[in-house]
Amino acid sequence: MPDMLAPDNVGLVTVQTEKFTTPLALDCGRTLPSYELVYETYGELNKHASNAVLICHALSGDHHAAGYYSMQDKKPGWWDSCIGPGKPIDTNRFFVVSLNNLGGCKGSTGPNTINPETSKPYGPEFPILTVRDWVKTQARLADVLGISQWAAVIGGSLGGMQALQWAIDYPKHLRHCIVIAAAPKLTAQNIAFNEVARQAILNDPDFHEGHYYQYDAVPRQGLMLARMLGHITYLSDDAMRNKFGRELREGKLNFGFDVEFQVESYLRYQGRSFVDRFDANTYLLMTKTLDYFDPASEHNNNLSAALAKVLAKFLVISFTSDWRFSPARSREIVKALLDNKKQVSYAQITADQGHDAFLMPIPHYMRVFKTYMQRVAEE
């Protein structure tokens, strides 16, 4: 809980909702007749609507990227380290838009919202979405907000994939594309992790084939396991060693299967708290969206061809200890841009926090990000 808001904090924020009634044709072949998106904005849109920045969230993210809802909140938004007055995404200069993606579980239409056709939650009937579907809905939100061109579209991890998709699908509608700790597609290893996470959820007896809402149940064990697994892959070996080592909670071995090592306690805590704030069907859906992302697949697996028509200037950032989306994966994006003689800068940040580093205020990362955004603002 903040006693007082820091001067570089966006302060108290409110959630806005937009209802879309134009049917949305999805990549899976189905059509959503209507849907709602919730979003937050920080900063002021200028007269020419030229200072808007779109934030795309990652797997477990949402629209609450910065600030607090009330002075009683324990934590600010998930990317508060980067969004605020004087921060890399400077709200004194930019109008920042952050939404909860379609299929999410924080207010936008998704598996846990009511399907108007059945008056029941969508549950497993909610269509599986692609990154391109998401970007399409984000473009519609931009229309509503009167933003014909983003100064920048920014995202980390799965958010970075959305930023990349923006540059491909709507080349004229963004000036800068900032892709952080992302990849042009998942590797087999990455899909494998997602599959284990999905199996944990699908095989939970409380899952009820996705209709758990009707049974007043939650597949807690499955979702918790999925999150625990995910969390391991977001940290690095070094980060875990530094944070926990082999430290024992009670200082001695108990020769049992209860929590003994600190790392076990931490993972269980992370898993449990995730269950309280996330929906299992959304988790399944988002991991599928991740698995499907592969813009090169429509160009004979040639990423350079997929990026041939982009117009945005790029900043690509990776982190040395990120093994989920390693620097080599970011370099694939950079190489495809170089092949096309596109404008791109690339920074590989030395950090031991693994994939999670993109959320941390690492000094060199913050300076690179801030310097780049200053140029975006001054253009």
Binding site: R331, V334, L338, K341
Partner: protein
């Protein structure tokens, strides 16, 4: 802003509207200058964190890269010029990098401190110590300059690698040049500047 003479020389050698790759681009001064006066496009490769930030500040496209890893991200013949200022002597295998430069670029331009300069020779000859000069100010054990060479060494390597030298200039550390320096470059030049390309393939006629 007054440009260092070696950089000014290089910008004269580079034609308008070309696509340039700058290996070890530092704070992006050369690329900024070439963009303004020659309307070039291109990228800088740099590994130092501070320099990377300075490049971004200038709006130079900079790619965080260790030059010792080669230029595998770049396709053959994708640049008109590949330039490298004061970095050749810091590379583990300069011969391989020179070949890489001419794989991805039509021409190469390098600058490096001349180890044949008379002060270097005197220091070694009279003092018996590794030279410390204006161009090579650091102690041998912390110096990043691990592959020092003279003008003659460089030209000999070019010959071995079938590289044709197109232009050569020498300057002092203040980046001035003089007729005397041009007369005895290997003895009096502190910094060497070379422009080169692969030797045209000879067609053997029967």
């Amino acid at each position: 802003m007054e440009l260092r003479t070696d950089l000014a020389l290089m910008s004269e050698w580079i034609t308008e509207d070309s696509h340039v790759l700058d290996l070890g681009c530092g704070d992006g001064t050369l690329l900024t200058h070439l963009g303004e006066c020659r309307n070039i496009t291109g990228y800088g490769l740099e590994i130092d964190d501070d320099n990377l930030e300075l490049c971004i500040e200038k709006g130079v496209n900079v790619i965080d890269t260790d030059l010792n890893q080669g230029l595998s991200d770049f396709n053959d013949d994708s640049f008109d010029y590949v330039v490298m200022t004061q970095a050749l002597q810091t590379i583990h295998r300069p011969d391989l990098l020179l070949m890489e430069m001419l794989r991805v670029g039509k021409q190469g331009i390098v600058t490096f401190p001349n180890f044949g300069h008379w002060k270097v020779r005197m220091s070694l000859f009279l003092g018996g110590l590794m030279p410390k000069t204006r161009a090579l100010p650091e102690d041998w054990y912390i110096s990043e300059n691990i592959r020092l060479c003279t003008l003659h060494d460089f030209e000999k390597l070019c010959n071995t690698l079938d590289i044709e030298v197109l232009q050569r200039a020498v300057v002092d550390t203040k980046h001035h040049s003089s007729w005397l320096m041009r007369f005895m470059p290997n003895l009096l030049g502190e910094i060497a500047v070379y422009r080169f390309r692969s030797k045209p393939v000879k067609i053997i006629s029967k």
